[in-house]
Symmetry: C2
DNA sequence: CTGAAAGCGCTTACAG
DNA sequence: CTGAAAGCGCTTACAG
């Protein structure tokens, strides 16, 4: 079917101008809120807009103005609540600024990431907020940043492009210090997912903090990615020959899964085995005992990243920035003193 | 700064055509994969595209073609995992179809909803997937549907526009039947949030199912909206004069909150009090005892809704459709026989 | 403060 | 199978 059948033909600026008895340029000034137009003229035009149900065609406006006011947001995953919170923060500040956000999911595949980013560039986005897919090459992101404003979120693959994330390394320090202070000596690190900067920072942070306390930094256990699978993998920790008494989790998803899994094995979380989460996505609430967790404030990271993009849009040439949000340890019930 | 400073000037179709030694129209045919162009010519043009790093300007293409291949998705909230799952389903099928999705959050306010939808129309979206905000007037949605393809998701405010949701009513039947079969006579309904079609359907479904079993359908308890607040409100159920022995929750968020809250009050979920969730967003996994829940399959609803929008884009005039996904009761550990 | 003209980068008929 | 011309709906200088 022809488009005319679908949409009743939209009124254009010419229709508005004609009805108001002014020129098209004048009508254009009115819809852009220019101060150059006389009050009486403005009223005339606004009435015409109202009566015609005129809706501005930004597609046409952009073509001329070379600016779209839409930005692309590319995340590797939409199931982890962490990314949802990030999304909420991003959406909040961008919407307030009148920018529209195109959303895409790279599924942590560089190929898909490059596809969606290419498509977004075809759509003319002014900028990108991207959490690079695992194994994403620096050049893809750098090239992008060379053309449109770009900021990396949560993970970075290059220092030449803005980055906004959390200070995972010191978060790990906080986690290890807490458990060490409680008397734990054998602490496992339960990891999950692919390798990327945020992974490495957590991993290195764990290792160096453990070493500083003279503890064995090698009890690293790889876990699957869905909640039910994680729960069923709790025995991997229990059966580890080094018999850890506490586990630091790569993120809260892992912590929630293990918390349930330990209970299924009749192991009391907090007294018999301590579990410490990372990200603090739900204030530790869903489980009992409540989860002790290192807060990384994903929503706030989203807001900061969006603001950084706004800055970058205004100052394309300024040197690239690096921002790591401070973390806080929220102590609740899932960690406790080593019981002898 | 002028845009030229920001972006190195993009190559245009003319540049490509010139380099390939063909006309602009021919180059256009190549990028649109038309079969009309000779193989040898195609190769020439593709080489030119490659060497110039040409990126198609869809903004310009659309202006002529009167079709943007972008659709708007409007949800009332981004924190409830239910909407995230919906989002994932929508994104999955739309992306596969080569459509881009503009995302916006109405925060369940009609005013903000109308703003974002207006902005999206200015951006020229071909269609809308919208979960209407609480108290959204039918006319706003209907008017929209009169201009661009529109489908309502999860909630509807009019029968004149496509709708895709779940069969909440029969989900409630399943919930009540299960608890009644376990011997429960005094069943509470823990609700949350504003009133909308999905609310009414659950509410009515609860009421009529209870009545059919000759049970009191009036034990309805209103709860706050965040997890911590819900947990702290568990006493409202316990202290109710009609002393319910089981609670059906408006959604899983409420169920997770109450499950923790009951444990905080030293009430054993499943034996002393049964809790039944709705939506089954996380397969009941985060909590122990595992949550019994009515599955509404949000991701699949998202996929269906996206497919319906695709249909609607092709057949603007066909009669409006109504689809309610079947629900399933997943029995786990949080519900058990009435203990006497 | 307002208007006539050019142009943004494509696609769409229409010839050939 | 290819090319010259018109036009999509705006904004942008430039006059006045």
């Amino acid at each position: 079917l022809a488009p005319e059948d679908q949409k009743t033909k939209r009124a254009t600026l010419i229709d508005v101008a004609r009805l108001a008895g002014v020129s098209r340029a004048t009508a254009s000034l009115v819809i852009r809120n220019s101060p150059l137009v006389a009050k009486s003229t403005r009223v005339l035009v606004e009435e015409a807009i109202e009566s015609l149900g005129y809706i501005r065609n930004l597609t046409a406006a952009r073509l001329r103005a070379a600016q779209t006011r839409v930005v692309g947001l590319v995340v590797p995953n939409l199931t982890n609540p962490f990314f949802t919170k990030l999304l909420a923060g991003v959406e909040e500040v961008l919407e307030a600024e009148g920018l529209a956000v195109l959303l895409a999911n790279s599924h942590d595949s560089e190929g898909r990431q490059n596809n969606v980013m290419r498509r977004m560039r075809e759509h003319g986005v002014d900028g990108f907020l991207v959490c690079p897919a695992v194994d994403s090459s620096p050049s893809a992101i750098e090239m992008c940043g060379g053309h449109v404003a770009t900021v990396q979120v949560l993970r970075y693959v290059t220092r030449h492009i803005d980055y906004v994330g959390a200070d995972y390394r010191s978060g790990m320090e906080q986690a290890v210090s807490h458990l060490a202070a409680l008397g734990h000596q054998r602490i496992a690190f339960a990891v999950q997912g692919g390798q990327h900067s945020a992974y490495h920072e957590r991993f290195d942070g764990f290792g160096s903090a453990m070493s500083r306390f003279d503890l064995d930094p090698t009890i690293v256990v790889g876990l699957p990615s869905t909640l039910p699978e994680i729960s069923q993998s709790a025995h991997l920790i229990v059966e580890d020959a080094r018999s850890p008494t506490a586990t630091i989790c790569f993120n809260d998803l892992v912590a929630f899964g293990l918390s349930g899994g330990f209970q299924d094995l009749d192991i009391k979380v907090g007294s018999q085995h301590s579990i410490l989460g990372f990200d603090d996505v739900m204030q530790g609430e869903p489980v009992r005992p409540r989860l002790t967790s290192v807060a990384t404030y994903p929503t706030e990271i989203g807001r900061r990243a969006a603001k950084q993009l706004l800055l970058r849009l205004q100052e394309p040439k300024s040197p690239s920035s690096y921002f790591a949000m401070q973390t806080d340890l929220h102590i609740r019930q899932s960690t406790g003193p080593l019981s002898i």
